[in-house]
């Protein structure tokens, strides 16, 4: 764990869960897995507070626990999961584009609460949707349930590991912590529930409440338990599946920018067909025959079968190898390469493994090199293509005058984006008889950039918090004024009185508030932007590490 990651995790925990949880998380991240009493001693907090914090962290899957052979339970923080908190808006937005408002709210509730049971989630979402609807209309549970089932079928949400159902004898002491486990096949199975009901508004009238009380009292006296039918089955968001979706989106847009819209649609169709059949971490999708692809094309695209075949042939022949041809049955079977190949490298024909696909993320690296200039970006891309080049060759190929090329190369060298490789001609490595070649070590460069991204997000967050702290007094005042205005409007005040209350905030203060709002918005938007870059870099590093 680098310092930058630690700092970012700290800030995220503090912003979303408070100081106490931050302290506990910090201690776990810095010193590794430890049992409860060591944590209490480390953080200096009260034992109950530490327990509360651990409950919150485990609820949100940010910390996992393990029973040690000695009988104590050790807790371990999951740093990569904590960093995902940054990406929550993107997940929710994706759910909205795919499944509309119920989907968006379902994913949001699951992310806010860590894990929920199906009945609970559906009830909450229905209530929320009812709030936004007009008076008199309510959202039925069935619509929300059906969205839930669709989310589970496409693997966007999954079941949490379950408590083992063991009938323990009274004599044997129960283990200090349950060993949760779930089989792969059960992960997306939705329990057969008949959820009947409608969403409730929060401010229901009093008669309804009295009736509810009566009903509850009767239930209690009758002795029925109130456990819901799907007790013990909890659902959580499947982040991996969302990442897969983002990757597919990037692939499709890369194809679209390289070729045309129709070919990107073809690739999108192929990816959609193999959404749930591709194991995570695979380098290729399952082979799909061109007949199947033809059948699954979206209705709007009525291109002929021959045209489709031509497109597939074009895609397969493309040097970037997005699509590979893997057989001839059924009119030709094709696969899509889904590795995060390089950030623009072409593989030579002598590659030992199955064709990995390099794909150009829409100018990721040149964007990052924007701070060095477009010419540096040109040199960098040249080095990515040609691997090793001498100083002179760089100048020639990039068509940049020698002085400037030198300057840029040294700047990039000092930032560790490029490195020097020595190739000695003689065993004594004499400087005059050695080749010095510039090269790009892609993994090292990617890691360094990722580290920088973490640092920038942490800096952005700190700056935003600083801005809010500086203007705290003004913010509180404006909130109070708004509250007064709202209550006055509710009780029906005249325009003159409202105007008077508004005047409590002076002109310059209003300007200050405007500036603050603009700055905070800008910083938030930048954080989202950097998170996209983080996603690309992390996926690339992860997939390159997994390659055998």
């Amino acid at each position: 764990m680098t310092q930058a990651e630690l700092r970012l995790c700290s800030l995220l925990l503090q912003e979303h869960f408070g100081e106490i949880v931050e302290k506990v998380g910090n201690s776990l991240l810095r010193t590794g897995p430890r049992p409860l009493r060591l944590l209490v001693g480390d953080t200096g907090l009260l034992p109950d507070q530490v327990k509360k914090a651990l409950c919150v962290l485990i609820q949100h899957n940010l910390v996992r626990y393990e029973v040690q052979p000695r009988g104590s339970v050790e807790y371990e923080a999951r740093s990569e999961r904590i960093l995902r908190i940054l990406r929550y808006p993107r997940y929710i937005y994706t759910a909205k584009t795919l499944y509309g408002d119920p989907g968006e709210l379902l994913v949001e509730e699951l992310l806010l609460h860590g894990h929920l049971s199906m009945s609970c989630a559906v009830a909450r979402v229905a209530d929320r949707l009812t709030e936004t609807m007009e008076d008199g209309k309510t959202m039925d549970y069935s619509e929300v349930s059906s969205t839930f089932v669709r989310l589970a079928d496409t693997h966007f949400i999954q079941r949490c590991p379950m408590v083992p159902e063991s009938s323990r004898s009274a004599k044997a002491p129960p283990p200090p912590a349950p060993a949760l486990a779930i089989a792969e096949k059960d992960m997306y199975v939705v329990p057969r529930l008949s959820l009947v009901g409608k969403g409730k508004r929060r401010h229901s009238c009093d008669e309804e409440e009295k009736e509810e009380h009566k009903a509850k009292r009767q239930k209690q006296e009758g002795g029925t338990s109130e456990t819901p039918p799907d007790d013990g089955i909890y659902w959580q968001v499947n982040l991996e599946r969302f990442h897969q979706h983002f990757r597919d989106q990037a692939l499709v847009s890369a194809v679209a920018s390289r070729m045309d819209q129709t070919s990107s649609e073809v690739v999108r169709t192929m990816l959609r067909m193999s959404e749930v059949t591709t194991a995570s971490g695979a380098s290729h999708t399952q082979p799909l025959s061109s007949n199947e692809i033809f059948r699954s094309l979206p209705a709007g695209y009525n291109i002929g079968k021959q045209v489709l075949d031509q497109y597939l042939a074009l895609l397969a022949d493309d040097p970037l190898e997005f699509v590979g041809k893997s057989g001839d049955s059924g009119g030709g079977t094709y696969t899509v390469s889904i590795l995060w190949g390089e950030l623009g490298v072409t593989r030579g024909p002598g590659a030992a493994w199955a064709p990995p696909s390099p794909f150009q993320h829409p100018s990721l690296i040149p964007l990052l090199l924007h701070r060095f200039g477009s010419r540096c970006a040109r040199i960098f891309r040249l080095l990515l293509r040609k691997k090793h080049l001498e100083q002179k060759q760089v100048e020639d190929f990039a068509m940049i005058p020698a002085k400037e090329a030198k300057d840029m190369l040294y700047r990039m060298l000092s930032e560790n984006l490029v490195s020097l490789q020595e190739i000695p001609k003689t065993p004594d490595h004499a400087p005059s008889r050695t080749f010095y070649l510039y090269t790009v070590n892609v993994m090292a460069a990617a890691r360094m950039l990722l580290h920088r991204c973490y640092k920038s997000v942490a800096n952005l967050m700190e700056r935003r918090q600083h801005e809010m702290r500086e203007n705290k007094r003004l913010l509180e005042k404006s909130q109070r004024v708004e509250a007064i205005l709202a209550s006055m409007q509710a009780t029906g005040a005249e325009a003159a009185q409202l105007h008077e209350v508004e005047e409590m905030i002076t002109g310059p203060e209003r300007q200050q508030l405007e500036t603050l709002k603009r700055n905070v918005n800008k910083i938030d938007a930048s954080e989202n932007q950097v998170d996209e870059t983080i996603f690309v870099l992390e996926s690339f590093i992860e997939s390159t590490m997994k390659r055998p």
Binding site: E19, I20, L112, A177, E226
Partner: protein, 214 residues
């Protein structure tokens, strides 16, 4: 000899500097004698942020999420500092009691046993299944509940503690009690067992009923 060439020429290095591209007579930048500035001057401005509907919606989502998470019970607020004197106005201030209870109801079966702490039961919807023969106790508790439905949460916690004590007497599953009962029954500094409220003193006591009172 080692060191003899020092200072002559620009500064010799172990490798042939021409290969790297520093030709003869080229001026190198002067050596830096201080750490790089904290905010180096930007040579070129950053690219503008991508706007558009998607960006704005995600921005709104992000701010909404932040605000919502602060209101959830998962946001653990640090305990309020204990004031030196207990003031009368404390009863009417609406600060939420920060004791060592947990505001939401996790599924304790999924968590290690050592983490279990007292759950502060919320006002509405008491979901405790009651055995029928506890009718009397139930009514009494319900009355207490109604009486205290308008009062502050502190007193509610006290009544819950009394009810919890009753539950223990009934032999239900014990929750871990880590607090001292005496200390928390009333939030005073005095240990109640020492408190003698003087009822046994004065004309009401049985012993001195015959004697005349002056």
């Amino acid at each position: 000899m080692a060191g003899r060439g020092r200072g002559r020429g620009r500064g010799q290095m172990t490798f042939n500097v021409e290969a790297v591209g520093i030709g003869k007579g080229d001026a190198l930048p002067p050596p830096t004698l201080q750490p790089s500035p904290l905010f180096p001057a930007l040579e070129r401005r950053a690219a503008p942020l991508p706007g558009g509907e998607e960006g704005e919606y995600m921005l709104a989502l992000k701010q909404e999420l932040r605000r919502a998470m602060r209101g959830l019970p998962y946001f653990v607020k640090p305990g309020a500092p204990r004031r030196d004197i207990e003031r009368y106005s404390d009863k009417y201030q609406l600060s939420s009691p920060v004791d060592s209870a947990i505001d939401w109801n996790p599924d304790w079966r999924r968590l290690p046993r050592e983490l279990k702490i007292r759950v502060r039961r919320l006002r509405k919807g008491r979901t405790v299944p009651l055995v029928p023969k506890q009718h009397v106790a139930l009514d009494k508790e319900e009355t207490i509940k109604k009486l205290e439905s308008l009062e502050k949460k502190e007193e509610e916690v006290t009544s819950e503690e009394e009810e919890e004590k009753e539950e223990e007497e009934e032999g239900k599953e014990e929750e871990e009690e880590e607090y001292d009962e005496e200390e928390h029954e009333e939030e005073t500094d005095y240990v109640l067992s020492y408190f003698d409220n003087g009822e046994s003193f004065g004309p009401d006591s049985d012993d001195n009923g015959d004697e005349a009172v002056y």
